[in-house]
Amino acid sequence: MADVPTRARVVVIGAGIVGNSLVHHLARLGWRDIVQIDKGALPNPGGSTGHASNFIFPVDHSREITDLTLDSVRQYKEMDVFTESGGYEIARTEERMEELRRRMSSAKAWGIEAELVGPEHVKEKVPFIETDDIIGAFWTPSVGVVDSLRAGTIMREKALELGALTVVPNVEVTDLVVTDGRITAVETSGGTIETDTVVVACGVWSPRIAKMAGAAIPLTPAVHQMISVGPIPQLAERPGEISFPIVRDMDTFCYERQHGADMEVGSYAHRAILHEPDEIPSIDQAKLSPTEMPFTQADFDPQLEQAYELMPDALGADGAEIRYAINGLLSLTPDGAPILGETPEVKGLWSAAAVWIKEGPGVGRAVAEWMTHGSSEIDVHHSDIARFYPHQRTRSHVRARTSEAFIKTYGIVHPGEQWEGERGKRLAPMHTQQKQQGAHFFETVGWERPHWYDGNEALLGEYGDRVMPREHEWDSRWWSPIINAEHLAMRERAGIVDLTAFAIFDVVGPGAKDAVQRTVVAQADVAPGKVIYTPVLDERGGFKSDLTVMRLAHDHYRVVTGGLHGMADKKWFSDHLPADGSACAAIVDVTSAYSTIGLWGPKARDILGRLTDDDISDGGFGFLSCRDIEVGNLGVLASRISYVGELGWELYVPMEEGARLWSLLHEAGEPDGAVPVGIGVYGTTGRIEKGYRAFGFELDGERTIVEAAMQRPKVKQADFIGREAYVKQREEDPKTVLCTMTVDDHTSASGAKRYMLGGEPILTRDGGTLTDGHGHHPYVTSAGSAPSLGKHVLMAYLPPDEATLGNQLAVSYMEELYPVTIESVDSTPLLDPDNARIR
């Protein structure tokens, strides 16, 4: 084997599925002098790849994860290491059947063949299964198994053939050298490698390696128990590794997967068993491999009985013994998503961690593209390492959230489901008042945000059926008709909204204008006191974000963005600051300095007028402007903007004055019947009536301004990131068009009215498949009540030839079709299309 080189263009640490995919794709994209090291031997250095069960079920509710999986399957097939077996996810309860119907929605939305079948279908393909307790199953013919070790070898060899790669196994990283915030070298047991780019692809060891550079990769090693039982005659008589479909017994949280003459039984039912990255045994200390920890039998025993009852003839066959049993380590993250991208702490230090076999090659390609071009074809923003706030990187947070999530691995997770633990961390200054108002708190990146207020319950009587009550438990879980009542009160009177969770950062310095101008699409060279709403694009012209920017002074801009994506936005702005010289600029995070309160509704001006002598008339304080005003005895930065389509302001005050401002607004609002309004209105009903797009729903790296129908008449002259791509997009016909639809009839076959929650496929009226110019199938990006219209509204990207006003299509929800009609084929709002209310 090679010696450790002294210099490298990039060092990839780790030779599991991720590291191997990465070196292959980097080499393919033209990188040379790649050095890949691993402390273990090849081809199985002892990480999680080596003991993975290696099967792939492609359907996930997340588009990002599904696309990474489909890309991985394509690559595995190209390498000829994929064997299709088919797979069942079986249901023992009606509740699970409903979840499988929801899975059908995802399958159709992501274009994966799947079918709901009865027990007899399972029995025919898996004759040794007991179907007495099975009421149905989700059948995916394209499920299969891969040889991930062989795939890794093939991918390394491809990079070696290009002369791009040096692989050095049996070498351990001893330190990462950081100089002035940038990685400069990797110290190893075989010598020092100078480099300015390092990728940590070390699976469960990643936190430990990143920490050497002062960076955090917040994942935890966690146990997944697996046993292998054999030889089983029914399996042994068939040739090859797998000839029976894989069975996921969803309600007992386990799977049965044939592996030659053996049946592997894996469990997600046991208690969460977490380990510390620093306490994983070394290769020498380990009995099998470092990530095949000693089996703790008692944790598995309940699962053993359930598995036996499901397949007694196979698992109880004469001679079939438990030949292998491990507590296999895998990586879990606090939000379940992988951890990819350049670390915010150290320039040039990248993470490619918390990735499963099913996503490995796809992640390798995406991260390699990201390192090469600044973005990837598959949008991976949910996995961006920059998403974490400091509290989310703490060991305590990672342990608590992964412990709570483990049992949900095969669970039924509602899209609105809230975490039970790790709550009450980031409290708005008016939190105590909100509790008195009966706030139902939802959590966003640690912030406790009122989603609605029980104190507004009286409004239900006032508005009656206009609140569009939902009778089905699933549709109304994590929801309240009070949201729609608050919405109506805001539209008729005024609403007061806590927006403290905004991420806010300032761009300051002589180069501030240029820095903002080159980062955002909209004209940033505006007079101080102006507010701009703007998309932010990547180099390929996909959305990196959408946000508002206030110009506060000639050398001072304030960027306000959603809390969820705020840290990634901040990194993006930081990464694109002018390097140095006279026109320098700096980013200052003021998220924790300011509390923001929204005041909106037809009475907003009257209410604010009671608290201020400043000129807040339309003539004196126009839309999209901002300035300091006096509100009572508080100094407030007021910004006239709205995400709910009403007259009003965002009011920014120092965090410690937020509670006072909250009180003042309520007192002043009382004569007009102003009410506190939760995020249920701000995030969904208010915006959806106005057709406002939201990043992460309608907008992401795979969408363009033109497709989202957000283009302005002109493109600004000054250069900005993505400008070239954007200009080109404007010259071409869009391949897909964002449309707004309303549901014509909610009545299900059972007679109950059903309300879609998002993610459902849009089909032709009679259930036919639609495909856009990208080859994608339309799905609902956002769904919500539009109480002012008395309609349920859906947004979706549709094929351009279907995007016509009045076009009648259908939405599939829980495997039933509901008629929908297109009401908008651009950004024209359904409510108040002339935006008269905002004036």
Binding site: E279, P281, Q285, K287, P294
Partner: protein, 257 residues
């Protein structure tokens, strides 16, 4: 019919690198987990085979921490049907103490009408390696004992115990029953549990006992690790040409016949 008692001990798995606890009084099982030694597993297998041939029962006994129940259940899942745990902290126990407590169990069972014709033990413990309990147990019970035994047969009410002699030959000992036999690994291949076996093992009620006297202790000062065995890597070749060498190696290791 034959009644066999197999004595087993919960020990750290020693197939990885062996670590000692900070006070050097015990082997650290943190990374490797706990298990039964190969000697013990072979003793269990031998007993199970004897009963499969002659009928009868296999019982287990262990002296040690409450967690030893895990190892008893593992062993129960491959054949034995009863188990006893003398619950104690082994740190205070020497080989004489362990032999005494096992003898007490044998006598107590005899009083209840359960005569153990044959008591099997692992030849020596994988962690402490005292090599004393079998002989001390036989002495306490007044029974004949042989050690280093690979296989045992029962013929005409006597035990025929086979072992390897130091000169490479084979030794056979003919013992009257009841007897004590210390088993070395290699004579039989321990079976893995079946799922049914494991499920059955969970249902066995384990007899719990406490020590009958204050322990004398082992007089042990501390454990020390032998110098690490030199690790040499020999490259057998590359590509298809290496195949014959690999086959030869597998044959010499006995994994290929």
């Amino acid at each position: 019919m034959v009644d066999v008692l197999v004595c087993v001990k919960r020990v750290p798995d020693s197939s990885g690198e062996v670590l000692l606890t900070a006070d050097a009084q015990a082997v650290d099982a943190r990374y490797v987990g706990s298990t039964l030694s190969d000697h013990d597993n072979c003793a269990v297998e031998l007993a199970t085979q004897l009963v499969e041939t002659h009928g009868g029962t296999v019982s287990l006994v262990s002296v040690g921490a409450p967690e030893s129940v895990e190892q008893l259940r593992s062993a129960l899942s491959v054949g034995p049907t009863a188990a006893t745990l003398v619950e104690t902290d082994l740190r205070d126990f020497g080989p004489a103490d362990i032999a005494h407590e096992i003898a007490e169990v044998v006598r107590a069972h005899a009083e209840l009408g359960r005569e153990h014709d044959l008591v099997l033990l692992g030849n020596d413990a994988a962690d402490t390696g005292d090599f004393q309990v079998p002989v001390r147990l036989a002495h306490a019970l007044g029974r004949p004992v042989v050690t280093g035994i690979k296989t045992v047969a029962i013929e005409n009410g006597r035990a025929l115990a086979h072992g390897d002699s130091p000169d490479g030959g084979r030794e056979t000992f003919d013992l009257p029953l009841p007897a004590v036999v210390a088993v070395s690994e290699g004579g039989v291949s321990p079976r893995y549990p079946t799922i049914k076996g494991r499920m059955g093992a969970k249902k066995v009620e384990i007899e719990m006992r406490t020590p009958t006297r204050e322990p004398h202790g082992s007089g042990r000062v501390r454990l020390t690790l032998p110098p690490p065995a030199p690790s040499t890597v020999q490259v057998l070749g590359e590509g298809p040409e290496a195949a014959p060498a690999v086959v030869d190696l597998f044959q010499s290791l006995g994994v290929l016949r």
